[in-house]
């Protein structure tokens, strides 16, 4: 039981990081990025290709993150521009439809070009005992990456001028503009950051199980569930939701069966909307 629980936390940290990227973009611009998982997979495949050419991880990972960030920034600067001119429901709908399109294109391209490609990162070393459970080094490094990224994001959002500006737009865009903050610029840069975070999720996930080229849709759905349970727009909420759902996921997979876990996660999201529409923490930011 303890082992299942720890595995759940390992998965949950990755899910949290996945949800954070989605929630940031939604909070800033009302865009539900339904290609978030595909950004992650794109980064993973770039890393896998670079690794095959004999390059080291230190070379492959930055290139993969850069690729994911670049596609995200490009989406923001091109296809999202008409979306930002709309308001309210129209903006949300057009945004999610267009990003669904971007995701489909990435999926199609990867499936066509790299059907059997996968990113696998093996970290060698003997298992390390955590509260009496032997944990693989890969799982621990993966968790450390997710935790470090989460902590860095927290410090960035709370203590830096640019991070504060980002939160201020999520909270009140008009107020932010009156403070001299340019929402379009912040959106573009955070879109890029969110893409890089998606790539980082792929890195940490590849340390525990292979990231295959067709995993995009599944990751997007996971990101969406985590962000909804955390409360769309709430960064800390997404992280907490990710960890909780990771545990729920692993426990239900262990005791009931893998086939049921997606249903359980969707049910968790549905229940959150009914009972805590603002997310588990019940507040934004």
């Amino acid at each position: 039981m303890k082992a299942v629980f720890l595995d759940g936390i390992v998965l949950g940290l990755q899910m949290g990081l996945l949800g954070v990227g989605l929630t940031l973009i939604y909070g800033l611009g009302g865009v539900l990025n339904l290609s978030h998982g595909q950004f992650a997979v794109l980064g993973a495949i770039v890393m896998a290709r670079v690794l095959q050419h004999g390059a080291s991880l230190w070379m492959a990972v930055p290139l993969g993150l850069l690729a994911a960030a670049a596609v995200a920034v490009l989406s923001d600067l091109t296809i999202m521009q008409p979306v930002y001119r709309l308001r309210g429901e129209a903006r949300v709908l057009l945004g999610l439809l267009l990003m669904l399109g971007v995701g489909t294109i990435i999926d199609g391209y990867l499936e066509w070009k790299y059907p059997i490609e996968a990113l696998n990162i093996r970290i060698s070393g003997d298992p390390i005992s955590i509260i009496g459970v032997p944990m693989r080094v890969g799982s621990l490094v993966a968790s450390a990456i997710a935790l470090a990224a989460g902590a860095a994001l927290f410090v960035f959002l709370r203590y830096t001028t640019f991070g504060r500006a980002t939160r201020s737009i999520i909270e009140d865009e008009e107020g932010a503009r009156l403070c001299g903050i340019n929402p379009a610029l912040v959106r573009t840069l955070i879109f890029g950051l969110s893409g890089a975070l998606a790539g980082l999720v792929a890195v940490s996930r590849a340390m525990t199980s292979p990231v295959i080229s067709t995993a995009g849709v599944e990751l997007t759905i996971l990101a969406l569930i985590v962000a909804v349970v955390g409360g769309l727009g709430s960064v800390s909420g997404a992280f907490v939701a990710g960890v909780l759902l990771g545990i729920v996921n692993t426990v239900s997979a262990f005791y009931i069966g893998t086939y049921i876990t997606t249903i359980v996660l969707l049910a968790a999201a549905a229940l959150t909307i009914v009972f805590r529409p603002a997310g588990i923490l019940g507040r934004r930011a």
Binding site: T161, S168, R177, C179
Partner: protein, 260 residues
Amino acid sequence: MAESAAMGSQSASGAATPHSPAAADPEALLRVESLSSGYLGEDVVLDVNLTVAAGEAVAVIGSNGAGKTTLLKTICGLIPTTAGETRFGSRRLTGLGAHRVARLGVAFVPAERHLFNTMSVEENLALGAYPHRPDPETLDSVFELFPRLGERRGQHAGTMSGGEQQMLAVGRALMSRPRLLILDEPTTGLAPVLASEAYATLGRLRGEGLTVLVAEQHVPLALSLADRAYVLDHGRVDLEGSSAELADNPEVRRAYLGIS
């Protein structure tokens, strides 16, 4: 209407009459020229001329729906201009986004405040200084002006009282060390005592040399602060003149001061 002509109201063509301060002061800090703007293709601010000289306090008065808020938001770049232009010093504000207008030194305090509710007083003030780090001296001067804010640095803006939120909104605007402070109905939601206090504070800022443009429905308060005022009616400048002149104007007395 004889009085209004004598005070230099705008002619139908929008050109200022020789008596108009707009013509008399080409060096004004803020110059609004034949400005029109509105919503969804329908203009509600029509051909407005207005100036604010450096160091001056100017009020825009008028009844509900006259277009005061629309005028101020257009100046600040929150609403697009459909005709005419706005100049600030040597810079053209028209066509710039609200964030660029703000960075040029025009701070706007909207009637709805637009504070960052789940952030602390201190964070709200820090954002006022964006893109710079908050200047400690400016922060001290804001806390000196509003000791209440100093006592509640850590409190979330959303949990503060209406009066405190008003102070925070003004304080946040001051953090950018603006050359022009524009306020829309700063007394919105304030009890009469607090409304007078808010105007006392504005008077103090004005005394320290800050240039102020304020839209206000509470006409006696507005005229007590302002050197000059414009009366807006259905989107047009109906009257303009010094506060003393307007306070004596029978039309103003009847319509806005409740005196016949």
